[in-house]
């Protein structure tokens, strides 16, 4: 090939180049790169930048460059009894809420799995709570819990507010009841998210092949045996996925609690995500500390999720 040919190119080469310019690979790159850059800018970069900030003394409001402090923020958090208390509250909140949601959701799914008159309507009504905004749910239940005019006490049979529970104040008949406010919020979480577990369980139940039950009936297996050896194992993978989603969500619960109690009274409903917000904003703007706390929460959530995913995979392998 001569030099002149290389510089200008023959019509055949030019045609080849043009074709190469419109190649699939080029089009793929054209579409992927802008998306990738946006993803990096909005997701990956903040993730790494906040990781960097977690090792610094920095306030987002200060307009001062971050000062490197190494792992000091992490040491401060891990050696703070108060923050461990918030983790403990979050753990109790998560275990109780997700536990009840799983049991109730599965039970409800068992009850409505068979088609009956109005079952579609009932299923839809049951699903309404999870479709509502948590802030709206929080305010709605705040009114429901009102000891004077709220329906909650009325349904419990209390008509005298001085002798009734004041759920969000953590009091019963004006006497403090430990953690009553926390369990009041948990109850709302259960009310809101049980339908989610029910929905997953229902789809699992409906996917069980009928011939398994027919075979069991032929073998004269009891109802309990059928439930224990057919129903539960078949639904378990979907149920565990539901538990996984809800656990992740409950570990970072924020809007429901803020709407109902703002983390109070005292520290009774101060979940770790609420405290994270308090450190990051609300006059404090301790961005470095808050970033470190956010990463600790992230690590905990990843660890718990991994345990659950392992359980799901184990179930699938055994299945």
């Amino acid at each position: 090939m001569s030099v002149a040919q290389t510089q200008t190119g023959t019509p055949q080469v030019q045609q080849e180049r043009r074709r190469r310019g419109l190649s699939d690979r080029a089009i793929i790159s054209l579409f992927i790169w802008p998306t990738l850059i946006l993803l990096i800018a909005w997701n990956v970069f903040p993730l790494f930048y906040s990781l960097f900030l977690s090792f610094t003394d920095y306030s987002a409001i200060s307009r001062q460059a971050p000062t490197w402090v190494g792992v000091q923020n992490y040491i401060d958090i891990l050696s703070s009894d108060r923050l461990w208390g918030y983790f403990s509250t979050t753990g109790r909140y998560t275990v109780v809420a997700v536990g009840f949601e799983t049991i109730l959701g599965f039970t409800l799914a068992m009850l409505i799995k068979e088609k009956f008159r109005g079952s579609g309507l009932i299923t839809t009504l049951i699903l309404i709570p999870m479709m509502l905004s948590p802030v709206v749910v929080g305010l709605f239940w705040k009114l429901m819990y009102n000891p004077t005019f709220g329906y909650f006490n009325y349904l419990l049979g209390f008509t005298d507010p001085t002798r009734a529970p004041d759920m969000l104040a953590g009091r019963f008949a004006n006497q403090p009841v430990p953690d009553l406010a926390l369990w009041s919020v948990v109850l709302v979480d259960i009310w809101m998210w049980t339908p989610f577990l029910m929905l997953l369980s229902l789809s699992g139940l409906k996917a069980i092949p009928e011939y398994l039950y027919e075979a069991a009936v032929i073998d004269r297996a009891s109802s309990w045996f059928q439930f224990w050896r057919i129903t539960l194992p078949q639904v378990m993978p979907l149920l565990l996925i539901g538990v996984l989603f809800r656990t992740i969500d409950a570990l970072k619960s924020f809007d429901l609690v803020m709407g109902m109690t703002s983390g109070g009274p005292g520290d009774q409903t101060e979940l770790i995500a609420v405290n994270l917000y308090r450190q990051a904003f609300l006059g404090q703007f301790r961005t470095g500390d808050a970033s470190a706390l956010a990463y600790i929460i992230l690590i905990i959530i990843i660890s718990v999720s991994n345990l659950l995913i392992r359980a799901i995979n184990q179930g699938n392998t055994e299945g």
Binding site: F48, R63, A65, T261, G263, P265
Partner: protein, 463 residues
């Protein structure tokens, strides 16, 4: 080589973004630079629109009404942008932290001033306020609390705009009912009237607490969010002669003084005996709502929220039956009340032209006749002449109580780390008052110890 291109590109992009996001050095106060001699513009003003950020409440509407007069006079449109209270601070803080110039001015809370000036977000208004005479035109206490930082420095960062403080609304139909008056006098031995002392206040609160009738003595602040319960407790601390600090910023022995402990015990007793039900997480909205639905006899609130109580639209049943009084005196005759209110500051990140336009607006706004208009619309002027005029005092049922209150107001810390100090008081007050955990002495000791540590770490206490 090609296979290394993708990771290499990613690293480069991350590095570029990283370096772009490292905060710039604090901006130099632009206001102090001599104004450039701009060529005369004949077509009209260089800035034809200004934006003020404020919280979403009635006074912001009044400010917009006043600002509309400025547009009529000068052709410069002034927009009062309103943001709900819960996100007001976060929104503004995030904006100025990024050096943003969305708003030319902000009517910022008194507690913010230390933080905002230390970080260079507010323009220094000292010379402007002195040279224009605006510094002398306002009630001195308001200039100190809303405009000055550090305290006693003579440096001003805001024009005192909305004076405010905690006061009380009460049900006149109950207080002036002959049967109630007779029953009260028979039980307590003195006539039922607006309480002048907190001792009388407790008697009245207990007297009107009748769960069987759905009536309770008081509605007081209890919310954990931001500063609510702290502002409520302050209303007893200050009249008891207690404070957050001494003149050297010492807190040990001050915050946990016997007076402060007694004041906190009083507040808890008030909550236990007489707080309206469902008000365990209450701030201005919840307290006003309780007053409007007729379930409480006396309501603690900032004066700026009282218009809703005398408005027939928002309070159809009791709008003409509500009276107001200033915070009662403590056991030793001390007066005191929690300060509210805000000053108007110019954001230092906007261009010099916009800063000048903002200053022009403030100079216009601070005139006596405009302040009279501002008060007429419903704003709580800080202008001395208007503030003391009979016209202002009689303009609303609450202005006289407001004027009385402004003579003895005090504030929480307004230093840059006020948020950290606030977090502790909110938590400890909530624990003791609402949860009923521990004693008042323990709560105040914890606050004193934790405040002391934070203040020492930040260099406010050195010895």
């Amino acid at each position: 080589m090609r296979k290394h291109l993708l990771p290499l590109s990613l690293i480069m992009i991350l590095a570029m973004l990283f370096s772009a996001c490292v905060p710039a050095a604090p901006a130099q106060p632009v206001a102090e630079a001599p104004a450039e001699e701009a060529p005369a513009v004949e077509e009209g003003p260089a800035v034809d629109e200004l934006n003020i950020l404020w919280a979403q409440w009635d006074p912001a509407d009044y400010l917009q009404q006043t600002a509309d007069l400025y547009e009529e006079e000068t052709g410069i449109k002034v927009n009062v942008v309103q943001e709900p209270w819960p996100s007001f601070y976060d929104l503004f803080a995030a904006e100025v932290a990024a050096g943003g110039d969305t708003w030319d001015m902000v009517v910022g809370d008194s507690q913010w001033i230390g933080q905002m000036t230390s970080e260079g977000h507010y323009m220094d208004l000292t010379d402007f306020l002195n040279e224009t005479g605006l510094a002398d035109s306002v009630v001195p206490a308001t200039l100190t609390y809303y405009g000055e930082y550090p305290a006693g420095s003579g440096s001003y960062w805001a024009y005192p705009t909305e004076g405010d403080a905690d006061g009380w609304g009460y049900r006149k139909d109950l207080f002036e009912d002959p049967d109630e008056m007779a029953a009260f006098e028979a039980e307590y031995g003195y006539p039922l009237d607006v309480p002048e002392t907190y001792e009388q206040f407790m008697d009245i609160a207990k007297f009107f607490t009748r769960p069987s009738e759905g009536l309770y003595g008081v509605g007081i602040y209890t919310k954990k969010a931001y500063d609510a319960i702290t502002m409520g407790v302050e209303n007893t601390m200050f009249p008891w002669g207690a404070d957050w600090k001494d003149e050297n910023n010492n807190v040990l022995g001050v915050v946990n003084s016997p007076e402060a402990v007694a004041a906190l015990e009083y507040y808890k007793e008030l909550y236990d005996c007489c707080q309206g039900p469902g008000l365990s997480d209450a701030f201005f909205t919840e307290v006003n709502d309780a007053m409007i639905n007729g379930s409480i006899a006396m309501a603690m609130n900032y004066f700026a929220f009282f218009p809703a109580l005398v408005n027939s639209g928002t309070n159809p049943d009791y709008y003409d039956k509500i009276g107001f009084f200033a915070n009662p005196k403590g056991p030793d005759g001390h007066g005191g009340a929690a300060l509210g209110g805000q000053g108007l500051s110019v954001v230092s990140h906007v261009s010099p032209e916009r800063q000048q336009a903002a200053l022009d607006f403030i100079e216009w706004f601070g005139q006596d006749d405009i302040q009279a208009k501002w008060a007429e619309f419903g704003g709580y002027t800080t202008n001395s002449k208007v503030f003391e005029s009979e016209e202002f005092l009689n303009a609303t049922p609450y202005n006289r109580a407001f004027a009385d209150t402004m003579t003895f107001v005090k504030d929480f810390w307004n230093i840059p780390i006020f948020g950290q100090l606030l977090e502790i008081t909110q938590r400890e007050f909530g624990k003791y008052i609402i949860e009923g955990e521990g004693t008042a002495q323990e709560a105040m000791d914890t606050i004193a110890e934790e405040h002391d540590k934070i203040l020492r770490d930040a260099g406010y206490i050195t010895e």
